[in-house]
C-alpha cells in the first residue's frame, strides 16, 4: 500500500464530496447572485487585501482577490541600491519575520562573490532565522482565534511574542527590522547573557504552544470551522506553487531547510519536518503549530552547539559583486522566499526578482474559495496565512 495513493484518494474524496454538496444546494435553492466586497480594512486580511466575491445565497461562486494597495516596487528600487543597502528594503517584505527576508538575499550575494560566512555566523543566522519564524507564526496562532471569535489567544500570542522580539532586539538592536545580516557574516556578535535568556524564552514559547494546542486546537468550535474546509489537494497546491506549511499540510514532504544545501546550520542539529495529509484549514494551522514548537527545539539545540570563532569573513570594504546570476531560496515563515540576483559586476544588482511566498499562496484563493460558505472565507484566508507586504512587495 503506497502512502501516496491513499493520501491522494482521501483528498480527492473530500473535494468531490464538497463539490457534490454544492451542486445539490445550487439546484435546490436557486437565488439571485450578489456581490460581496471584502474591503481592504477587513481584520481577516492582515493588511489591505480586497476580495470581491460573487455570492449565490450563502455560497461563493466566484472570488477574485485584488492586491496592489501596498505595492512598493522593491524590484525596481533594488536597481538603484548597493548590495548592503538592499537588506534594508527587503526587511519590509514580510514584516513579521524580517530577519528571514534578509538571509536569502545575502546568501545569493555571497554565492556570487564566492564567499561563505564563518560557522559561528551561520549558526547565529540560523538561530535568528528561527526566532523570526517563532515571532511570525506565534502571532498567526493567536490571530487564528480572533478570526473565529475567540479573543484570548491573541493576547497570549502578543504577550509571548514580546519575549521573542526582546531577544531579537537584544541581539540586533531592532525589534521589527533588524537589518543585521551582512555579506560575509553578521554585524555584531551575540550580547552577554543572551544565550541563557533565549533558553528560558524557548521554554516559555513551548508552554505557549501547549496552551494553544489545548485552548484552540482542542476547541470544538475551532475544529468544526476548520476540519474539511478549504481542502487543497496535493497536485493543485504544487501547481500553484504553494509553499511552506500550506504545502506540507497537503501532504507534500518538502522543506527547503532540509532539502536544499545551504550554508546554514539546520543540518547541524536533529529536527523533524511536520506534514499533514488532509490539506484542509485545520491541517494548515496544525502544521504551523507543530513547526513553531519544532523551531523552539531547533533554537535550543543550536544554542548548545554554537561554535566559537569570527562572525565576519574577509570582505572588501566596498562590496562589488562579480558578474553572474544566482538563485537562493529559503524556507521562510510564510513559505519559500527566494531572490534571483543578476549582477553585472557593479556596486548594485542589475536586476533582482523577488519570489515571495504569499504571492503564490494567495493566487490559489480564486480556486479554493469557489463553492465555500461566506463564514468559511475568513477561516480559509486566515489558515492560508499571508502578509500583505509579502504579496505586493
Amino acid at each position: 500500500m503506497s502512502d501516496e495513493t491513499v493520501l491522494g484518494d482521501r483528498q480527492k474524496l473530500a473535494y468531490i464530496a464538497s463539490q457534490a454538496a454544492d451542486a445539490r444546494l445550487n439546484v435546490e435553492l436557486e437565488t439571485e447572485g450578489m456581490t460581496l466586497n471584502f474591503c481592504p480594512q477587513h481584520p481577516a486580511t492582515h493588511g489591505t487585501l480586497r476580495i470581491v466575491c460573487r455570492l449565490d445565497g450563502e455560497q461563493v461562486v466566484w472570488a477574485e482577490p485584488s492586491a496592489g494597495y501596498m505595492h512598493r516596487g522593491y524590484e525596481k528600487l533594488t536597481e538603484v541600491r548597493t548590495y548592503p543597502q538592499v537588506t534594508t528594503l527587503v526587511n519590509r517584505i514580510d514584516w513579521l519575520g524580517s530577519f528571514a527576508n534578509e538571509v536569502p538575499f545575502i546568501l545569493a550575494s555571497e554565492k556570487l562573490m564566492g564567499i561563505e560566512a564563518p560557522p559561528r555566523a551561520q549558526h547565529i543566522r540560523t538561530i535568528l532565522f528561527e526566532l523570526s519564524r517563532i515571532a511570525n507564526v506565534g502571532l498567526f496562532l493567536g490571530d487564528l482565534g480572533v478570526q473565529m471569535g475567540a479573543v484570548t489567544p491573541v493576547f497570549m500570542a502578543f504577550r509571548d511574542r514580546e519575549y521573542v522580539l526582546n531577544l531579537i532586539e537584544g541581539a540586533t538592536g531592532g525589534r521589527f527590522h533588524p537589518n543585521f545580516d551582512r555579506i560575509g557574516g553578521l554585524k555584531e556578535d551575540l550580547p552577554k547573557g543572551w544565550i541563557d535568556e533565549t533558553r528560558g524564552v524557548m521554554r516559555k514559547l513551548r508552554k505557549f504552544c501547549d496552551e494553544m494546542e489545548t485552548l484552540l486546537f482542542g476547541n470544538e468550535i475551532f475544529q468544526a470551522r476548520t476540519r474539511g474546509i478549504g481542502v487543497i489537494p496535493k497536485d493543485i497546491a504544487l501547481q500553484y506553487g504553494l509553499s511552506g506549511a500550506n504545502l506540507r499540510a497537503s501532504g507534500v514532504d518538502y522543506d527547503l531547510r532540509r532539502d536544499h544545501r545551504l550554508p546554514m546550520a539546520w543540518d547541524k542539529v536533529d529536527w523533524k519536518v511536520w506534514t499533514h495529509p488532509d490539506g484542509d484549514s485545520f491541517a494548515r494551522c496544525w502544521v504551523r503549530l507543530m513547526e513553531t514548537r519544532e523551531s523552539t527545539l531547533i533554537v535550543e539545540r543550536l544554542l548548545d552547539t554554537i561554535p566559537s570563532g569570527p562572525i565576519m569573513a574577509k570582505v572588501p570594504r566596498i562590496i562589488k559583486v562579480p558578474a553572474g546570476e544566482a538563485w537562493v531560496s529559503t524556507e521562510n515563515p510564510l513559505g519559500e522566499m527566494g531572490y534571483y540576483v543578476i549582477s553585472k559586476g557593479d556596486l548594485g544588482p542589475f536586476r533582482v526578482k523577488i519570489r515571495s511566498a504569499s504571492f503564490n499562496n494567495i493566487s490559489i484563493v480564486p480556486w479554493v474559495l469557489r463553492g465555500v460558505l461566506v463564514p468559511d472565507i475568513i477561516t480559509i484566508l486566515a489558515s492560508l496565512y499571508f502578509i500583505l507586504g509579502d504579496i505586493d512587495r
Partner: protein, 226 residues
C-alpha cells in the same frame, strides 16, 4: 494520531549528475528547440529554449522531468539603464553610459527574456528556464496549461514589462491603476523619486565643520571587515 512527523529518507542530494541528466532528458523531449544550457557545478542549472517552444518546455518540465513545484515566472530587461543608478549630479554634464545589450547565462538575442523556475519536490532540485521575447512582437505563450499558478505571475509580468501572453484569460493590472502608461520594470522607465529630488549622496560631500576637506570623504563607516 495519524499525522506523524515524516521519517522519509532524504532523496538523493542535488548533484551535478542529476542536473546533467535533467538537461539530457529535456533535450530528448524538445530536440533543437533547446538552444543553450549551462550546468554550474555545485550550484544550479540554466536552460534557454526557443520562443515557440516555451509552453512545450513547460509541459515537458512538468510531465517528463517531474518538476511539479511552480516557483515563479518573470522577465528580464537586458538593456542597461539610461539613468544609471540614479545618482547623477544635475549640475554636471550628462555621463556617457554603456548601451550595448549583453545577456547573462545561456545567452540570448533579444532585449527582453522570460525567466521561470520550477522544482522537483521529490528529488530536491530546480531548474531555471529562459526564452527570448521577440523585439518586434512582445508575445510569448502562456504557461497556465502547464502550471496554473503562472496566472498571476504573467499578469504581473504583463504590467511591469509589457509582455503579452498568448492564451492568458485575463491580463488585467494587479498593482497599477487601469490605464497607467508605461511599464515600470523596464530599464528606460525612470524612477521618479530619483529625478524629482537629487540623491542625498551627492549633497552630503561637504566637509564637516572643523575637518579638512580631503579627510571628510575618507571617513570609515565603522563597518569595515576586520
Amino acid at each position: 494520531m495519524s499525522p506523524l512527523p515524516s521519517d522519509a529518507p532524504v532523496a538523493e542530494l542535488p548533484g551535478d549528475a542529476l542536473r546533467e541528466r535533467a538537461v539530457d532528458q529535456l533535450r530528448s523531449e524538445l530536440g533543437d528547440a533547446l538552444v543553450d544550457t549551462l550546468v554550474k557545478p555545485g550550484d544550479d542549472v540554466w536552460v534557454r529554449v526557443r520562443t515557440d517552444a516555451w509552453r512545450a518546455a513547460g509541459l515537458a518540465l512538468r510531465d517528463a522531468l517531474g518538476m511539479d513545484f511552480f516557483g515563479y515566472l518573470s522577465a528580464i530587461d537586458w538593456m542597461p539603464s539610461p539613468f544609471g543608478r540614479g545618482e547623477d549630479d544635475p549640475t554636471q554634464p550628462p555621463v556617457e553610459r554603456e548601451t550595448a545589450i549583453v545577456q547573462g547565462y545561456t545567452g540570448g538575442d533579444t532585449r527582453f527574456q522570460m525567466l521561470a523556475r520550477v522544482s522537483n519536490t521529490s528529488r530536491h532540485y530546480g531548474i531555471t528556464i529562459k526564452t527570448d521575447v521577440p523585439d518586434d512582437e512582445l508575445t510569448v505563450q502562456s504557461w497556465i496549461p502547464a502550471y496554473a499558478g503562472a496566472n498571476w505571475h504573467e499578469r504581473e509580468t504583463h504590467e511591469m514589462f509589457g509582455i503579452n501572453f498568448a492564451g492568458h484569460p485575463d491580463l488585467r493590472n494587479m498593482y497599477l491603476p487601469t490605464g497607467f502608461e508605461g511599464y515600470p520594470l523596464r530599464k528606460d522607465f525612470p524612477l521618479l523619486a530619483r529625478h524629482v529630488k537629487t540623491w542625498p549622496g551627492i549633497v552630503d560631500v561637504e566637509p564637516l565643520p572643523g575637518e579638512p576637506a580631503d579627510e571628510a570623504t575618507e571617513t570609515p563607516e565603522g563597518e569595515a571587515a576586520e
